[in-house]
Symmetry: C2
Subunit: 170 residues, 2 copies
């Protein structure tokens, strides 16, 4: 039901009644969030339908894919911004089907590292290639010029947000 899905994430509707110049920042935020939510919802749906997996599992495997030496649960938790408890459950769901394995650290025997198994690396390679293709499909209607402009503008936005967060914590 693509119409329902689109309607559900059309956050901008909430500001439909507000005067045009008003709440400009809120409008920009809701439009940005709408785009992110539309894409993320579609990625979740396709991961589920085509690979019987979830976005958190895909994200965890992506973290491990770029760390051949593996990562501790604590480090994964920090990078994915999820609680230790959630990471443990997530890791268990990848350990059980043999996509991920535990490995002891070479020098610190107490530290447990998680790594992709060879099978996990193969499976993630397929998921990752599909994911990249899906993103390309979803952005296919964006002109090269808009694409380039947007990429540049989002860098400025990201820097501005970082600055605001630094000012806030100073």
């Amino acid at each position: 039901m693509p119409d329902d899905r689109s309607a559900a994430v059309d956050l901008e509707t909430s500001l439909a009644g507000a005067p045009a110049g008003d709440k400009a920042d809120l409008r920009l935020w809701l439009r940005l969030l709408s785009c992110a939510n539309l894409i993320e919802a579609e990625i979740r749906r396709r991961l589920r339908d085509r690979f019987s997996t979830t976005l958190p599992r895909f994200d965890l495997m992506a973290q491990l894919d770029r760390e051949p030496d593996g990562l501790t649960l604590g480090e994964i938790s920090r990078r994915m911004m999820v609680s230790n408890g959630n990471v443990t459950a997530l890791a268990a769901s990848l350990l059980a089907p043999g996509l991920v394995e535990r490995r002891a650290h070479a020098t610190d025997r107490r530290a447990q590292f998680l790594c992709l198994t060879p099978h996990g690396r193969l499976v993630f390679g397929q998921q990752s290639a599909a994911h990249e293709k899906w993103i390309a499909e979803l952005f296919a209607g964006v002109s090269p010029r808009d694409h380039a402009d947007l990429y540049r503008l989002l860098a400025a936005v990201k820097a501005a947000i970082r600055q605001a967060l630094q000012d806030e914590s100073a």
Copy 2:
């Protein structure tokens, strides 16, 4: 720990090694997602620190705030794209402190509508005003011209994504 927070959501790092022209759509997506995640994480943090509430609770109250006649749990579930079970738990957490109340439908006695209580409306008014101010703070460093360009470009992106979703389901 703002540095940790920023590092944790800097998804673009994963592509740092890829050639510049390569994976352009994936880069754009990760940059868009980074911006959305940075803002959302900060909003979650401030809602928790300053109002002892959560983003899902804030979002549910926002849905009810613009529907004076209330919404059924099913409709809330659809709009927020969360399961019926999660909406029930979420609603319970707002019913208990008297922010939300159940109301029977005027003609269909079986249908239960959730509404903000007068107290809930007051509390949401404060949260909503703070939320709008936070968003303005986070975007403060974006120039008016970039702001306008971005707003326009994101509309094009949203339309392109919608089109891609329609093509996919056709």
